[in-house]
Amino acid sequence: MLEARQLMVFYENMLALNNVSIRCEENQIVGVFGANSAGKSTLMYTLSGIMEDIRKKEEMAGGERISVLGDITYLGEGIMGMKPSKRAKKGIVLCPERRRIFKECSVLENLRIGGYLATPAQAKDTLEYVFNVFPALQKLQKRIGGFLSGGEQQMLAIGRALMAQPKLLLLDEPLLGLSPLIQAVLVRATREIRDEMGISIIVTEQYARPVLPIVDYAFILENGTAVLEGTRDELMDNPDIRSAYFGIK
């Protein structure tokens, strides 16, 4: 479905992604694991096209020069250099790190803004579906986004991304700073979304253990380089990976 080959991203002269190739098949959940500064968010920004936006802004302001090299194919079409809004229309939707919900809008408004690309009928269906997957949000519809708890905000962020009718959902650290209980809820919901809506998902995390049960295939990033890849079972068999990313001795 999506294939990125030899992605290289430079922030000025610093290499943030070094020759990273990743792949996501139809109806798959792909995990990308790595420590801080491994390049996870850079990868997500590059795939979703936000990097193009950042690059342009930096250029205008005379900041650091960002170079993006490589090749991304999505549904048989090269999308390198395409604007993020256009990529969203094609179905690549990013749910950004730290949620970035609209803090002054209510839950319902947040979701409706997310549904900008959907037809009214689609929006209605998806809205129902979101409340179905995250029943907690149903009761909070009128609540202002900024007053939600971290977990509720994350649910809202995922819900908002779903409203844009994605074919490929990019979840950037969805479990950041959440309690194990909420993490379990979100992980379960992620699998449900894949199973019921047929959306492919790429999810990044620092600590792989909570999401590991649901990923089909995973990549390990280290300092901008993809050091290892494999199916869940293959990675589990690697003792170094087990202790470093899964916390299992």
């Binding site: 030899q6 290289m8 302001a61 005379g62």
Partner: protein, 339 residues
């Protein structure tokens, strides 16, 4: 790997001489010393020669006006990019400084050498006290309040017919001669420019920049944000009041036009053109903008159109500003490399 070998990217590297001249070793070679001193010498020398190079009294007068705007731009840049307060108070500072200097000169008979420093300090105190209520707030409030004060003062003066009313205060003493008039303000620009640059690199400047970045964290460190903002506003309004006091002695007249919006808006334009956050950029911006505006007088009413077009062009094509661009070209070089 083979595929990517024909891809190229432009690499930006610091010049060797920049790296060498950063440490104390710069003192060991003339080349490195001159690398450090050249931009500063050009600026200082250029400003000092400027009055001599001007063809007529008219253009010398323009230089004085430019310096006034340069001071205002400096004060704007300092407040906006080092303390995080967007000030539209150029007119407020100029007005306060000029009316104080005018009163001191006409009612108390003090010479310019006394009125200017007194107006600077007193004006800064008055401006700071009047702006104090909105300093604990974040957001646009400071900008709005600084914009409202000059409007308010102008109407008060007009309605109550105090301080000369609409006629203004006349008969103010001028400088002893035009060279003193020119060099006083040029030296002041240089002194305040290098002074502010020094200031923002001191400990107190560190606190200022921290306030700009995240005032909650600063507060959590046990530092009073309002106190530091007050100091910053005192410094910035002092710079503005100095310019105002000088303006009064230049024009030998203080009136409502010292509270005009030009003094608030033009410094911002100069900052955008010169490169915000560089301090020297806004000064250069004023030296570009004000003369352009004078040259465009030939076009009559179309002046503002051309002026706006120049500004627009700068913002679209060089929104980083001249100084940011220039510094980068001076310190760094670029080359294509294969990845």
């Amino acid at each position: 790997m083979k595929e990517s070998s024909d891809q190229r990217r432009k690499e930006r590297l610091d010049r060797g001489i920049k790296v060498r001249s950063e440490g104390i070793y710069a003192l060991m070679s003339w080349r490195e010393l001159s690398y450090l001193f050249l931009p500063r010498v050009v600026l200082i020398g250029g400003l000092l020669i400027l009055p001599l190079a001007m063809p007529s009294m008219y253009w010398q007068r323009v230089i004085s006006i430019v310096c006034i705007y340069a001071l205002l731009a400096l004060s704007f840049d300092f407040l906006a990019h080092y303390v995080g307060l967007v000030s539209l108070g150029g007119a407020f500072f100029i007005g306060t400084g000029s009316y104080i200097a005018a009163i001191l000169n006409t009612s108390f008979g003090l010479p310019p050498i006394l009125t200017i420093p007194i107006a600077t300090l007193l004006g800064a105190v008055i401006c700071t006290v009047l702006l104090l209520p909105c300093l604990p707030l974040r957001g646009v409030y400071f900008a709005i309040v600084t914009l409202m004060y000059p409007l308010l003062l102008a109407r008060v003066i007009e309605a109550l017919d105090i301080l000369g009313g609409t006629d203004g205060i006349l008969g103010i003493e001028s400088f002893a001669n035009r060279w003193m008039e020119q060099y006083f303000i040029i030296l002041m620009v240089l002194f305040l420019l290098f002074g502010t640059r020094r200031l923002v690199n001191q400990d107190i400047g560190l606190v200022f920049r921290a306030v700009k970045d995240n005032d909650q964290s600063v507060r959590a460190s046990g530092i009073s944000v309002t106190y530091y903002k007050t100091i910053a506003v005192f410094i910035a309004s002092g710079i503005g009041c100095l310019a105002g006091a000088y303006l009064v002695h230049l024009y030998m007249w203080a009136g409502l036009s010292t509270l005009a919006l030009d003094f608030s808006i033009l410094p911002i334009a100069a900052t955008v053109i010169g490169g915000s956050g560089t301090l020297v950029g806004p000064v250069l911006g004023a030296f570009i903008l004000v003369p352009i505006s004078e040259l465009l007088r030939a076009f009559g009413t179309l002046r503002i159109v051309f002026y706006a077009l120049i500004l627009l062009g700068f913002i679209i094509f060089r929104s980083e500003g001249i100084m940011v661009y220039g510094q980068r070209k001076y310190h760094q070089f670029e080359k294509w490399i294969k990845v």
